[in-house]
Symmetry: C2
Subunit: 210 residues, 2 copies
């Protein structure tokens, strides 16, 4: 854990803080697809992402889903953080997008570090800033873009997150993330393929030029 943490966070935190993280944090590894936090869970800690990617989803009362954003190495979930401090239940679901490694920090330490380490404060504020930006981005997409443009953005984002132009996914899974129906996604994907922007196989979409 030492080396990995240092590599991902060494330039952010001083040695003393890194040592403390090492001491109280627990290293977790999850496989792609595993649910890390479920809606309504009490949040017991805050994850520092070391490797992989996590997707953050919102769900409404009918069980309809919507992808909010992805977290990458160096990110933390400000939403979780927010829940921790407010001692409230999670408003979101976190699912591993790829195999993922992260360090879990118990809540208790967070408040302490906030007063003791300037670098920690800055990190937390930066996390909030980043999350608010992502949320604005998401709102822009839902409010101002049509489904075809949202789909293109989604494919671009996933290709980027996975560092792979070949996205392994069924149309149904994409439909869940974008909160629409499978038929709509199939229709739009076919259109993108005809325009030469992607190519389609079963369970796979290859991004050519989006």
């Amino acid at each position: 854990m030492h080396e990995e943490l240092k590599e991902a966070y060494g330039f952010l935190f001083e040695k003393e803080l890194l040592d403390e993280i090492m001491e109280v944090g627990t290293l977790k590894k999850v496989k792609a697809g595993e649910v890390i936090i479920e809606i309504g869970d009490y949040v017991t800690g805050m994850p520092l992402l070391i490797n992989g990617a996590i997707k953050i989803l919102r769900e409404d009362k009918d069980g309809d889903e919507l992808l909010l954003y992805f977290l990458e190495r160096g990110d933390t979930c400000a939403m979780t953080l927010s829940c921790c401090l407010g001692r409230t239940k999670s408003e979101i679901r976190a699912v591993a997008e790829t195999d993922t490694t992260f360090v879990m920090i118990p809540i208790a330490k967070m408040e302490e570090w906030t007063s003791r380490y300037k670098s920690w404060r800055n990190f937390v504020f930066a996390a909030y800033h980043a999350r608010l930006s992502e949320m604005l981005d998401t709102i822009d997409a839902i409010a101002f873009l049509n489904m075809d443009q949202r789909l293109m953005k989604y494919l671009r984002d996933r290709a980027k997150i996975n560092r792979d132009d070949e996205i392994q996914s069924t149309h149904q899974q994409i439909a869940y993330d974008l909160h629409t129906s499978r038929v709509v996604i199939s229709r739009l994907l076919k259109k993108l393929e005809i325009e030469g922007k992607i190519s389609l196989q079963r369970n796979q979409i290859k991004v050519i030029d989006l």
Copy 2:
């Protein structure tokens, strides 16, 4: 300014901090409709709302608007805060919904207080938490609700914010806030009137039972 500030924030901040705020903050009063922060502005300070209400808007590249949420007494704009710390331009527009009074805090002090006052840190974190919640709410509304339900929510929110069941507004203004067209709003309002939920006059909507 002393008494007003104390009334709105006295239970949050210790005397010492209140005194500092008094010292470096400047009291501002704006009329309903005035633009307080414009998109692209460099943010020079952070507002502590004492009286009135502010609406926060997002705009896309074509100039299309969308209402994000309202701020009330005791609130601050976490978005502004976020911009301050990142030294970035404002991503949103803030417009006075009613005649509004607030205290403007210069950026420089904020960092200092964050390390010195626990109550200030808690306030800032609570502000972030509140804003993230509002953003989630907004996303829920856009993603999961139809326009008629969004309109009802909007009318409820405005009635609550203004503490008045009679909303002074044209259909066009509502259309801007919800990012739709005037015709759509007129159509849905008429439907709500027929259902007995509101009554309509020129420039005015009276909420009866939403």
